[in-house]
């Protein structure tokens, strides 16, 4: 029963982490750029939830905040694209590292100035209670996190697999120059990648903010988790990012329960090193990408 409890907790946490990692990969695929402001985008989503909840009657379920959070963080993504990526996209990649790191610092300090340094909590998605199911205490919040993440990931999969825009996005991620030669507008795809990717990060922020709180300084550890997920799962692979994120949660929850948290963290990094040595392209490594 306890193992089932741990599995559920790991799945809930991993689902939220998966949204973070998927958002990271969406930007990566649209641009080849590593967006170091991505962790701060998760935090921005959490604080957007806190702010919007403050404008609504008390007791409102957190799921109601999702559309607003998605819109706000998608707009943030467009700003990041316009300020920190598009003007310098023809420069060496390290330039984008610097601009997105700087943007992330601006977001962190901005949130600190507006909301203060204290951790904040957002409303529970559907309620704070729990249900007993086959001897396992299942919190409504955990179930809601899993369901919301699954819904968003499913919607993304539909868009990417079944729509022309999704095909164009995937084509750009594999060969942007050839995509351009077919008439696909790369700037549009770039903006879409940033908007979608940051919206996913924001959604993760909402999902995490009730159970785990949100602080302005949380961004650094979140970008690290996204990076680890992508290294394990495969650079550029959405499926791999999800698997990598779930694996991180398995270490944080499962491995930590039988050893200790510091040991679990060390073992996670050893696993990352093993992946890099044995299969450097990651578990679901994508075919080689052609740079524009």
């Amino acid at each position: 029963m306890f193992a089932a409890q741990l599995a559920l907790n790991a799945l809930a946490l991993g689902s939220a982490y998966a949204l973070v990692a998927i958002g990271f990969v969406l930007v990566l695929n649209a641009t080849t750029a590593v967006n170091f402001a991505h962790g701060e985008s998760v935090v921005a989503g959490g604080f957007a939830a806190v702010a919007i909840a403050g404008l609504l009657p008390a007791g409102i379920p957190g799921i109601v905040l999702l559309p607003g959070v998605l819109v706000v963080t998608a707009l943030l993504g467009l700003i990041i694209a316009g300020v920190a990526y598009l003007p310098i996209r023809s420069r060496p990649p390290v330039s984008v590292f610097v601009t997105t790191i700087a943007f992330g610092i601006i977001v962190t300090n901005g949130l600190n100035a507006v909301f203060g340094a204290a951790p904040r909590t957002a409303p529970a998605l559907v309620g704070s209670g729990a249900v007993e199911f086959l001897g396992v205490t299942v919190s409504l919040q955990s179930l809601a996190i899993i369901a919301t993440a699954a819904l968003l990931i499913g919607a993304l999969a539909f868009v990417l697999q079944r729509t022309q825009l999704g095909r164009q996005f995937r084509a750009c991620s594999q060969d942007p120059e050839m995509a351009r030669a077919l008439g696909i507008r790369l700037v549009r795809i770039t903006l879409l990648g940033f908007a979608l990717g940051t919206a996913f990060a924001g959604a993760a922020g909402l999902l995490l903010a009730h159970q785990f709180f949100v602080s302005p300084s949380d961004g650094g550890i979140l970008i690290l988790k996204a990076y680890i997920a992508v290294v394990i799962g495969g650079w550029g692979s959405l499926r791999g990012a999800s698997v990598g994120a779930l694996l991180i949660a398995v270490f944080e929850v499962g491995v930590a329960s039988v050893s200790s948290q510091p040991v679990a963290e060390a073992m996670l990094y050893i696993a990352v090193l093993l992946v890099l040595f044995v299969r450097p392209e990651g578990v679901f490594g994508e075919p080689q990408r052609v740079r524009a």
Partner: protein, 375 residues
């Protein structure tokens, strides 16, 4: 000379004279740089430090600048070195983050400037530096209170400890462990957690499996609230006595009233729990200036800066004078009476607070005065 040029010359002379007056005034005033973590995982506590220092310095003749030390020792060292470029620095408000303090101590000794801080990390006053003055009861004091309350008041026979893996956490855990053993009740379970850990089920399940009858926490604000929330959610109903983070109103604000009820914490003091007029005046002034509730870190820093101002009023005009005054005098601050134990530990009392009412304001349930016997 042409009329226009004459006007320009006159304006230049006035401006230059004015500047030299300003410069002279600045050269005459003493300075206390305020170097605190305003961003990063300790930003909540660091902001309290900043606010307490500012409240004490506002209206005084002493000049001050605030610099953010964030979370890394390098940033703190850079901020300190930049601060030393100014003239007439008589003291420095130093960050409460233990790892930063440990990096700053050699610099403070090199520049021979006393640092006043509210850092709880025990080690900062064990390195033999004459330039560290801690205005918050150190781990030696608060962890003694923490352990004694658990054993003597709650009857703990199998205590468990969860601490942070930071220098603050390790220092506190070592003191808690030592005190519990001295009281004859060694811990049955101990684990350290990274600041970023979100899911507490693994560690709480191990606490439950250990058969612990009291849980002692030595964690920062967010992790403290997470442990309490998740312990209650999983039905772990043993008493929880948290570290000083739990006394902060911002930490309490993260929890529902039902989750708060019965929870306790150690602290140097709790300004919002006191009802005396001087505390109310302090709390009112704090709320008015900063739009938030004061906590013990703010109060400790406020008292510490005020003691330095008292030293200046007492005739100290440079860093050596301030240091000498702090070493050899008592000071009746708002929170308590301060006096150095010879190593720079100025505060020697602690309290235990518990959330026992519906109003979410903790009550002081036990005072531990002069724990070290220095006063």
């Amino acid at each position: 000379m042409l009329p226009g040029l004459r006007r320009i010359g006159l304006a230049t002379a006035i401006i230059t004279a004015g500047l030299s007056l300003v410069t002279t005034a600045a050269a005459d005033s003493l300075r206390i740089p305020v170097l605190v973590p305003i961003t990063g995982f300790l930003s909540l506590e660091g902001t309290s430090q900043k606010n307490g220092a500012e409240l004490a310095l506002d209206g005084s003749d002493v000049a001050f600048d605030v610099a953010d030390t964030a979370t890394s020792p390098e940033v703190a060292v850079n901020a300190f070195e930049r601060a030393m470029n100014a003239k007439d620095v008589v003291s420095v408000v130093a960050p409460m983050l233990g790892t930063q303090m440990l990096a700053l101590i050699p610099l403070a000794d090199e520049f021979d400037v006393p640092m006043i801080t509210v850092s709880g990390t025990a080690r900062i006053t064990e390195l033999g530096s004459p330039n560290v003055f801690r205005f918050f009861p150190g781990d030696v004091v608060v962890k003694a209170a923490h352990a004694r309350y658990a054993v003597e008041e709650l009857g703990a026979k199998k205590p468990a400890i969860i601490s942070q893996t930071t220098a603050y956490g390790q220092s506190g855990r070592a003191e808690l462990d030592r005190n519990l053993r001295a009281l004859g009740q060694p811990p049955v379970f101990t684990e350290g957690l990274e600041v970023s850990v979100k899911d507490m089920l693994p560690v709480l399940s191990k606490v439950r499996d250990s058969g612990a009858d009291v849980l002692l926490l030595h964690l920062h604000s967010g992790p403290t609230a997470l442990v309490i929330r998740q312990a209650r959610a999983m039905g772990l109903d043993i008493p929880i006595v948290a570290g000083s983070a739990m006394h902060q109103p911002e930490t309490a604000a993260l929890l529902e009233s039902a989750e708060l009820l019965g929870g306790c914490a150690e602290s140097g003091w709790s300004p919002i729990s006191e009802t005396g007029p001087e505390f109310r005046a302090f709390a009112d002034a704090y709320r008015k200036s900063f739009n938030r509730e004061p906590d013990a870190f703010a109060l400790g820093q406020y008292d510490g800066v005020n003691m330095v101002l008292a030293a200046i009023r007492g005739g100290a005009r440079d860093a050596a004078g301030v240091r000498s005054w702090l070493e050899s005098n008592r000071y009746d601050g708002l929170a308590m009476t301060y006096a150095s134990d010879g190593k720079g530990n100025m505060a020697h009392s602690a309290v235990i607070l518990c959330y026992i009412g519906a109003d979410r304001v903790p009550q002081i349930v036990k005072r531990y005065r002069n724990v070290t016997g220095v006063l």
